[in-house]
Subunit: 146 residues, 2 copies
DNA sequence: TATTGTTATACTCTATAACTATA
DNA sequence: TATAGTTATAGAGTATAACAATA
């Protein structure tokens, strides 16, 4: 059975509010305060998907190429990524995450998961309620990934 | 029955990933591109809770007082808030949202809800799945609001 | 003296425009 | 000519330090 328009809008409103509030709360947890949201997103992308060029990173993070140059400069200065000139096309620069960069991503994820787990523990949810949250997470990702 | 630690952590990881991805996608929708995330958060706070001083706004948005001065300057220049000197304590400045400011908040919320409703419609969820999302939204808010 | 808000100054993130090197 | 990346420059958002006005 397909959902009514009213149910869609009610759900959208509820979910928007809950999502923004939770994201805001979790965003404050990170492994170092010398790294910005975009820098962290770049590191997470590189860790998941391997090396990328500057322009590909710019496109994926929806910033301009000069902005991505500056973001990568910052990450390189902190030792979290390394630049390599592409051998085949020497205009291109390949960006790789370093072990230190991986450590930052892993630690930030760990802290955020820990914070959220603590929040969930505080409320003392039942197994069924946690299952609802996991089910909803899968549904949310399905909507975003379309 | 209380939840196991493993279930808590699994749920936290799922929910963190889903929440960040959805928030990121929805954040791009706003009524005007002359307004920042913090400015929008200030307007939303003023709309919900009425007038506030600069220092209260700074505390609530977790920025410094000079930063909030600058944020309110930007909102005032665009006609979205109005400053009034407090009659009782003349060091204080009360900030009120204007009708134009309310309109920006309402329109931004409308666009985000519309975008999310469209995303949910695309996936063609059942009524039961939408109910799961609404249930989860309530659970998420309970965790954040503690 | 303490508090509220602003100004001065500096750094980061972002953009557009102009440039260099390479294809 | 077109593309990949960088540099130059400017505007917004943030911070800390110093200041003015008021309590």
């Amino acid at each position: 059975m397909s959902a009514t328009d009213e149910a869609l809008h009610l759900t959208a409103t509820d979910l928007r509010m809950a999502t923004f509030r939770l994201a805001r709360r979790l965003r404050s947890a990170r492994a170092t305060d010398t790294i910005s949201d975009t820098q962290l997103a770049v590191l997470a992308d590189l860790r998941m998907n391997g090396r990328r060029t500057i322009s590909t990173l710019a496109e994926r993070e929806r910033v301009t190429a000069p902005s991505m140059t500056s973001i990568v400069n910052g990450l390189e200065e902190q030792g979290f990524v390394a630049r390599t000139q592409d051998a085949d096309d020497r205009r291109r620069v390949q960006v790789d995450i370093t072990d230190a960069g991986i450590a930052i991503v892993v630690e930030t994820i760990r802290r955020r998961d820990e914070l959220l787990a603590d929040m969930l523990r505080e409320v003392d949810y039942t197994e069924a309620e946690l299952a609802t949250l996991r089910d909803a997470s899968a549904l949310m990702r399905r909507a975003v990934e379309r």
